[in-house]
């Protein structure tokens, strides 16, 4: 049984591939080194390769399912508390804030079941203690969550860099491009994640552990990504040999698609180099040969008509309108005739009227949780953009991700 951190003692240097197909494939012997089991038993400080952990440090703490446990109980306990607190804020405290919001509407002779102008909703609620307290508690807990993770991962950054360097040339292709010109729209600190998806060398670590908190315990083993992959639409002819996941982040959806289509050539691309580098680390651990590349979704570099299935998992609401239009056209170019394009994202069809409190929360999410482009996504008429790109639009499902949009499309044969 070999644990991930044993590679730290291997002294493997980082030799990065900088072009598709340049990264070496691990041979079977090397791949067998990558066990996925965590340690068992108490007090284990060494592994099959001997003394790895210096005196005064602790051995890895095993896994909860797919996720390696955080390295100390202290950090794990605090993160668990913040996750529970977030759940309480989003359920109990927000429910009280919504009640108070309705009360404010009644006091102002406004309907509670019809949408009022957003500016009016904000004017009414921005000085109300309950909604403001709910927002403060939500964002403070999130800041504390990020700070705790950052202290660990950036505080011991060389250790985590070493883990990634050691597998850069194993498993599927990894393409990193330090010359990539990342546009401004993609460099914001989305979800107030320090450094966004592009800056921190350990952005992937931060994102993976942080967003698991966002899912409030329901996605520790990629359950949501796996469910969406299982429900994903496929071409009418059933042929799925090549798949691309745009804006793949830490590759959870790309890996879930690889698990559904194990014989397919699966790619995940993202603007964030540290994100795809971490995705590669995780996929290598899981012995999933998924290819990851640091590329922009509006310029994927793939040949025309290359993919049977092009997907994205809640990427588009993090993209500005001009890039959205370009990405739709790029998706069309690389999808083969009869192939499917399925961009999972917030629903833009037939949304019910939003309550004043929902509008207030949307604004707070946009302004203070750093979601610069979400309102633009809701307003950009993506269904028309998909048609304009040349696709035949389908709005009837399947529902890949419950409560999200069902827009998907086929490239005419």
């Amino acid at each position: 049984m070999i644990k991930r951190r044993t590679i730290l003692g291997a002294g493997a240097g980082a030799v990065l591939a900088s072009g598709a197909g340049l990264a070496s494939q691990a041979n079977a012997q090397d791949m067998n080194r990558w066990g996925t089991d965590g340690p068992s038993g108490l007090g284990q400080r060494t592994d099959t390769e001997g003394e790895v952990y210096p005196p005064g440090t602790l051995a890895p703490r095993g896994r909860f399912g797919r996720m390696e446990r955080l390295p100390t109980l202290e950090l794990e306990s605090r993160q668990n508390f913040l996750r529970s607190f977030r759940t309480w804020v989003n359920m109990s405290l927000s429910a009280k804030a919504a009640e108070r919001s309705n009360q404010v509407l009644r006091e102002n002779d406004l309907p509670i079941d019809a949408e009022i102008p957003e500016a009016r909703a904000l004017e009414l609620l921005m000085n109300e203690p309950l909604p403001q307290t709910a927002s403060r508690a939500w964002l403070s807990s999130q800041q504390l969550m990020w700070n705790g993770l950052r202290e660990e991962f950036e505080g011991r950054v060389e250790k985590y860099l070493g883990e990634m360097e050691a597998v850069d040339n194993y498993g599927g292709i990894l393409e990193l491009n330090p010359e990539l010109d990342i546009p401004k729209y993609a460099r914001h600190e989305i979800h107030i994640m320090p450094g966004g998806y592009v800056e921190s060398p350990v952005a992937g670590h931060l994102y993976h552990y942080g967003t698991n908190g966002f899912y409030m315990g329901r996605n520790d083993n990629d359950e949501i990504h796996i469910g969406a992959a299982r429900r994903m639409a496929i071409p009418a002819d059933g042929k799925v040999k090549r798949i691309l996941d745009l804006g793949t982040g830490v590759g959870q959806f790309a890996m879930a698609l690889k698990e559904r289509f194990p014989d397919a050539e699966v790619w995940g691309i993202d603007a964030g180099g540290p994100m795809v580098r971490y995705a590669h680390l995780v996929s290598t651990e899981r012995k999933l040969e998924v290819n990851f590349a640091q590329r922009m979704a509006e310029d994927t570099k793939f040949p025309d008509n290359y993919f049977d299935l092009v997907t994205s998992y809640i990427m588009f609401h993090e993209v500005d309108p001009e890039a959205t239009r370009k990405i739709m056209h790029e998706a069309y170019r690389i999808t083969r005739p009869g192939g499917v394009f399925y961009p999972i994202d917030f629903n833009t069809l037939d949304n019910p009227p939003r309550t004043a409190y929902q509008q207030y929360r949307s604004y707070m999410d946009h302004r203070w949780n750093c979601e610069p482009w979400t309102p633009k996504w809701r307003a950009c008429n993506p269904q028309q953009l998909i048609r304009d790109a040349g696709f035949d639009l389908n709005t009837e499902g399947p529902v890949a991700l419950p409560r999200f949009g069902v827009l998907n499309a086929t490239k005419p044969a």
Partner: protein, 116 residues
């Protein structure tokens, strides 16, 4: 760190981000009140960390009659224990923080007239 792109000469593939302004956000009318809310949440996390450590120590002493730091760090709760801890954590959160959900629309200033 050397820069966003290198640490001690090792490439990180990082690019400078555009910073969010949330650290400067004031929702409670006074930034110090915002800070205090952050502090009480952080203290809750500290308290829970200590409570969980104690729960693990109690269980280890009961099972093994001894306890070391490593035993604590590597302890894996049974499903039953994990459920119990979740319930304790949720109860603590409710007990400590539910006052934040109090409807203050009828709040009275300190110098409001004595009603009786």
């Amino acid at each position: 760190m050397d820069s966003e792109s290198h640490i001690n000469g090792r490439p990180t593939y990082g690019t400078a981000a555009i910073k969010a302004e949330t650290d400067a956000a004031v929702f409670m009318g006074n930034p110090h009140i915002d800070n205090l809310i952050t502090i009480v949440i952080a203290l809750g996390a500290e308290i829970w960390e200590s409570r969980q450590r104690m729960l693990i120590m109690e269980r280890l002493l009961e099972k093994h009659g001894r306890v070391t730091e490593e035993m604590i760090e590597q302890y894996v709760a049974s499903d039953e224990e994990a459920d119990l801890w979740e319930a304790k954590k949720a109860a603590m959160t409710e007990r400590v923080y539910s006052v934040l959900a109090r409807d203050t629309s009828g709040a009275k200033p300190f110098n409001s007239p004595f009603p009786y």
